[in-house]
């Protein structure tokens, strides 16, 4: 199998998404192909770096501000529930 035909297998391998049969095909190709081995390793490095991205956090008062917005939006009808809910949430947050 040629390198350009192996492209999709190489990619899917990185997602652990190959059937045992496909995996064997890929491994057979990789044994004899330095080019594809290097591509695979490079791609794996890039993916690792991306997955390493540190999670970021929204502001501490995210929920309170959201509920305030909702309270303003729902100016009629359910605003009593919302006002009550808001008081409860505001009490809970530091």
């Amino acid at each position: 199998m040629r390198c350009n035909q192996i492209h999709r297998l190489r990619q899917a391998y990185l997602d652990d998404a190959l059937s045992p049969d496909e995996e064997r095909q890929l491994e057979r190709h990789l044994r004899g192909c330095v080019f594809c081995r290097k591509r695979l390793v490079d791609m794996a490095r890039v993916i690792n770096r991306i997955s390493d991205a540190k999670p970021v956090a929204p502001s501490a008062d995210f929920t309170r501000r959201l509920l305030e917005k909702l309270g303003r939006d729902e100016a009629t009808g359910r605003d009593n529930h919302l006002a009550e809910l808001l008081r409860e949430i505001t009490r809970r947050e530091p």
Binding site: A17, R39, V46, I50, V56, P58, F62
Partner: protein, 193 residues
Amino acid sequence: MSSNLWLNLTDEELAAQVQRGDLTAFTGLVERYKDRLYNLGYRMLRNPSDAEEIAQEAFLHVFRAIQSFQTDQRFSAWCYRIASNLCIDRLRRRPDTRVSLDEPVTSSDLYFQLADTNPLPDAQVEAGELREEIQRAIGALPPKYRLVVVFRHVDDLSYEEIAQITELPMGTVKTRLFRAREILRRSLEHITR
């Protein structure tokens, strides 16, 4: 309902409570999803205040549309879909979006976009700078490619989950992901050497 009780309920059960008018159940969903939606916004829009705004907007949409949510579907997919559509809309409206979302993008287009990002020599690439560089490379991807990369590698979602969220055939999800990674590999070649 106290927040402890939320722990025993699935997302879909909480959503059903919200549909019945239990507004405190809504805060349960917000608590569960705010970090995920904020991170999605941050990776897509690359700016904390835009991320905060888009996450807030997404929850407002979720709340307003909750009656249309079918509780036999997965809430996570529905909620992510709302947030990712908002991100894509926002990027579409941004004046600095240089690539049309509907045009096929060739890697040479992206090469030009990345060419002015002034890559640092290997020895000077500190961890923080490296991170920034990777984020910049992701940020240079067309939004629809960026989205699948973020879902797959930041949120760790499967092809199938991404297909559910984006309502795309799985083959399209794979094609976008594979192309996006190929572009990233090329643009980050100097760090993998």
